[in-house]
Subunit: 426 residues, 2 copies
Amino acid sequence: MEVVKYPEKEDWARLLERPDLDYSALYGTVEQVLKEIKAEGDEAVIRYSEKFDKVKLSSIQVSDAEMEHVSIDESLKNAINLAADNIYKFHKAQEFKGETIETSPGVKCWQKAVAIEKVGLYIPGGTAPLFSTVLMLGIPAKIAGCREIILCTPPDKNGSIHPAILYAAAKVGVTKLFKVGGIQAIGAMAYGTESVPKVYKIFGPGNQYVTAAKQIVSLKDVAIDMPAGPSEVEVIADASSNPDFIASDLLSQAEHGATSQVVMVTDDASIISPVQKALEAQLKVLPREEMARKAIANSRIILVKDQEEVIEITNAYAPEHLIISTDSYAKIADRVINAGSVFLGQYTPESAGDYASGTNHTLPTNGYATAYSGVNLDSYVKKITFQEISPEGLQIIGPAIETMAENEELFAHKNAVTLRLKEIGK
Amino acid sequence: MEVVKYPEKEDWARLLERPDLDYSALYGTVEQVLKEIKAEGDEAVIRYSEKFDKVKLSSIQVSDAEMEHVSIDESLKNAINLAADNIYKFHKAQEFKGETIETSPGVKCWQKAVAIEKVGLYIPGGTAPLFSTVLMLGIPAKIAGCREIILCTPPDKNGSIHPAILYAAAKVGVTKLFKVGGIQAIGAMAYGTESVPKVYKIFGPGNQYVTAAKQIVSLKDVAIDMPAGPSEVEVIADASSNPDFIASDLLSQAEHGATSQVVMVTDDASIISPVQKALEAQLKVLPREEMARKAIANSRIILVKDQEEVIEITNAYAPEHLIISTDSYAKIADRVINAGSVFLGQYTPESAGDYASGTNHTLPTNGYATAYSGVNLDSYVKKITFQEISPEGLQIIGPAIETMAENEELFAHKNAVTLRLKEIGK
């Protein structure tokens, strides 16, 4: 990791820069596939699954029989169950309790959280089965009360889905599961096909094609969870920090891929060399050493003047994950403005939040933490406003409405009040 | 209005269809303007303001002197103040009160709502000054605690902003106000210029160019409130309804423009003719008669079999505004799943929510109410998750994390726990 000592503030933006996430070069290909899926439905989905995923499917839906014969290790089952319990508890506590507000006498207004009826979860394929993401996206959907919870994930070459994915999907209550990945999955959920119901919101990570497809369908067809980018972590360290713990946290991010963003910020020069040594020692025995080395090569340790600058540069970076791996973490934590999820103290590794503490691991990357929340129960509901005005209430606020509508030259708006006030006055 | 009697369910989708909102034909023009603003800043903003808005500005920011000399009618001032009070009360009550959840012993997780630091409000120009939208977008920004609240609105030919806009902006606490409209405004707020600070989220309505520009910048540069479409209302009527009230509500929507969507749904044939008569009578004296007639010509009265179908077709339409203009509104209200804002009973016209009841009038159109909420206090905050795990807590959930990480082949994730558990065991 490059060490940058006491950078000037005008250089911070450059230091913290992420790769430019411009997927528009892929739009041509992606739009063509989406168009065919919209027009031809399942037929196009099956055709592109053969082309892209090298798998020929007769039926894209996972059958009841396939769901019934799931077998996974008892220890993994127990781990998934513990994680699911914690995720359930944390998201269940987020249920909205609105109150009715009488803004003026006789003018009652309230919000009601109503589940999005149909949601689609996308779980990428790849070397390992991301069953943890099934829990993170599915459990809040179930708590919210989504009626239809669709899950799409690419099958292996034999047309099978990993049993841990199936177990997690059954556990959270996915209603329909499809062996479809990539652009095809996003298109199928956005438009609906003969087999796949059209959903109103799509959740989940994916490669650049999935991301481009989500961007395109989000313009007018369907909502999406948030824009995507490579995963990232910032670790804040000081003299109290444990270098081994920090190295393991930095590598937890680095092993996700060569584009992962890994940053350590400290105001204490003495912690840098021990962290570097620990990194090297841990890298050597890491199965994904090569990938992690690439990410680490692009990563930085930034030494700043004082705690004030630590806080300032952290908020400027707006990391997806922020680990404050120090003894006196509370002071810094209070002043975090921009971050997805914050991990406090020496015994709170990012992997706890990735799996089993209960918080969600679908979080804003790429600086989007300046404006976006991670996935949470809110992501699965709409807050509908209601209002109920009594004749007396309308007499109180009606004249203001008439004046404002007249000044905006909207006379039918005014008349809707005038007619009612006349009727009340009779 | 066309009357459709007892349509078959398979025809509902066609009956409720909205215009296709494909703005991609504008992307070429819009992208060029955005590119120049990103590269040239204020200079390009001023150049395009001259080209598109026919106004040559030396400075684009509204000066303190201009803010100090605002004069509007006392009656309008009082109306704005009353509306602002109610909007404040309703949105203030939405402040997030999170709780700390101990998901496992020693594993504490919580959410904290933190204001988006910099937000941009766009207020369109046009025949009348939309000061009500300044209140709707600005008041929750202030309550949330946004540090920088930018407002952009196009000036008139003399380079001035309407005093009612200035009054409302000062009232809500806008921090900087710019005489910039259209694509230029969206570009300036998305990228920042010498004068206009870059913001993290852009709110507000606009014409097709503004909408296209918001779509493009939302792909990677900045968050936006929600996708846009023409405004719409559905009114539910029965024998108890007042035909004059209903006609005035339908026209409140129709007067917004020829593309406005206006629908009445009823299971009582006898209310249709009285509503049609009232519509004709009110249209004749409406200043915007011509525009409203065009909208009404494209609109429908749908007669369905029973209350069950009324509810079903309403949820299928997912209207931005839903007025249940009947005496027994509560039964229907309870079963609304898809709507932006719901108005209950005979004395709750849409114009109350448009101006002064306290609810927000920036709402999901075009069926987006299936997945989106209207603007509310949540729109101005991010919910950051925090977690704090004690050594004892990590001993409880650590083994599950190790098992899950191993099964997802993420060994550094596992190691981050293993190292800590070893340290605890010493």
